[in-house]
Amino acid sequence: MRRGRTWTFPNKPVIISSAAVGGPFEAQGPLSADFDILHEDFWLGQDSFEQAEKKLLEQACERTIDKAGMKKEDIQFFLAGDLMNQIVTSSFSARTLGSPYIGLFGACSTSMEGLALGALIVDAGQAEFVIAGTASHNAAANRQYRYPSEYGAQNPPSAQWTVTGAGTGLIAKEGKGPSVTSATIGRIVDMGISDPFNMGVAMAPAAVDTIEAHFRDLDVDTDHYDLVLTGDLGRVGHRICADLLHKHGLNIPQDRFGDCGLMIYREDQPVQAGASGPACSATVFYGHILKEMEKGNLNRVLMVATGALLSPITFQQKESIPCIAHAVSIERMR
């Protein structure tokens, strides 16, 4: 069913299993207990950071399938994306997994793009078991988008730290776990910001656009959700997002409005404006948030994953940054 640009899922697809994998920097953060696997080695024993990123996604898939007590042959579709050129992390992981595969590119919004599409496929009865997920690696992303870390370039205070990790979830027709009840698909919002060290600010208006559309389409109150969580706006972007929503008359209570980018690292970790990367919202959601829902601390959550859809080439050609946000609501059924 569709209302505006929001899909509602009457058959209530269930996230029956999930996994979050992280690196050494994530292991020092406050959510470390919610990761399934934490690596001490930044290289994960691989020869390159790109290979390490692939390993992260493969491990998350493997653990997700294990936790559901299933085999990889049981997975009917695999939806994944990442930040590497030609989304190789996802495609190479799909090679390992062997399932039919749809590659996605939504930059840091991929986590919710995948979950929304996975829920749509399962809700429509086109599959019983779908895995959605994404991964990022700090050093691989630095090399892809900015400078290799060895280059030693300075990061301004508005820069964010790409999460090393992967998060995946298994969406099923039925089973035990929280349900995916609706998803609002974002549109591109570009406010003309071209500074790639200020992505949170660039993405904030996209998050506002999608959150507004979601509440308008479903006609629910701002306190409907126990938690509305943006993906990786960081300190600066999240504040702008809250201000803009307030200005537009959408007052989400402050204690129910957070950002994954501000949760994953401690205050004293040197991450400037907070965390970012596809794995930011993916590990926080598939690790921490789903565990909180299982414990009963959260019943209704709206995840709004934000993505900056630039490339190094468009930046060099002085283009502004087109941004997007996808929102997915997840509810614990009693």
Partner: protein, 116 residues
């Protein structure tokens, strides 16, 4: 006294670089290249050598001195061999620095792995 001027002049060049980076939002590569070009232009007008006499390492350590050295080498060779000297001389003074960078980077890449 030269210690004081080295501190002031060297620091000032770095402040300009930091401002180009933070305020003008230039990339690290653009910032560095611009400073090299500025050093080259200053030497073209014969202004960089007096700055070195005045501030010592304050003028020779920052990257602007690399631009100065490029022009210096080219000019010196040009005086000896004419126009062809501009091409042969451009890396004459700087070749030690460039070669050292290549050699030491190569050794480091053999011995160490990036930590992140």
């Amino acid at each position: 006294m030269i210690f004081l001027w080295a501190f002031v002049v060297g620091g000032l060049i770095c402040v300009i670089g930091q401002l180009m980076f933070d305020v003008m939002k230039l990339t690290p590569a653009h910032t560095t290249s611009t400073l090299v070009v500025v050093g080259a232009i200053l030497d073209g007008f014969g202004l960089y050598e007096p700055l070195i006499d005045f501030a010592g390492a304050g003028a020779t350590v920052p990257i602007t001195s690399f631009g100065n050295a490029l022009v210096h080498g080219a000019m010196a060779e040009a005086e000896k061999n004419g126009l062809i000297g501009v091409v042969t001389g451009i890396f004459e003074v700087t070749s030690a620095g460039i070669s050292a960078a290549i050699v030491f980077a190569f050794i480091a890449s053999l011995l160490f792995r990036s930590k992140g």
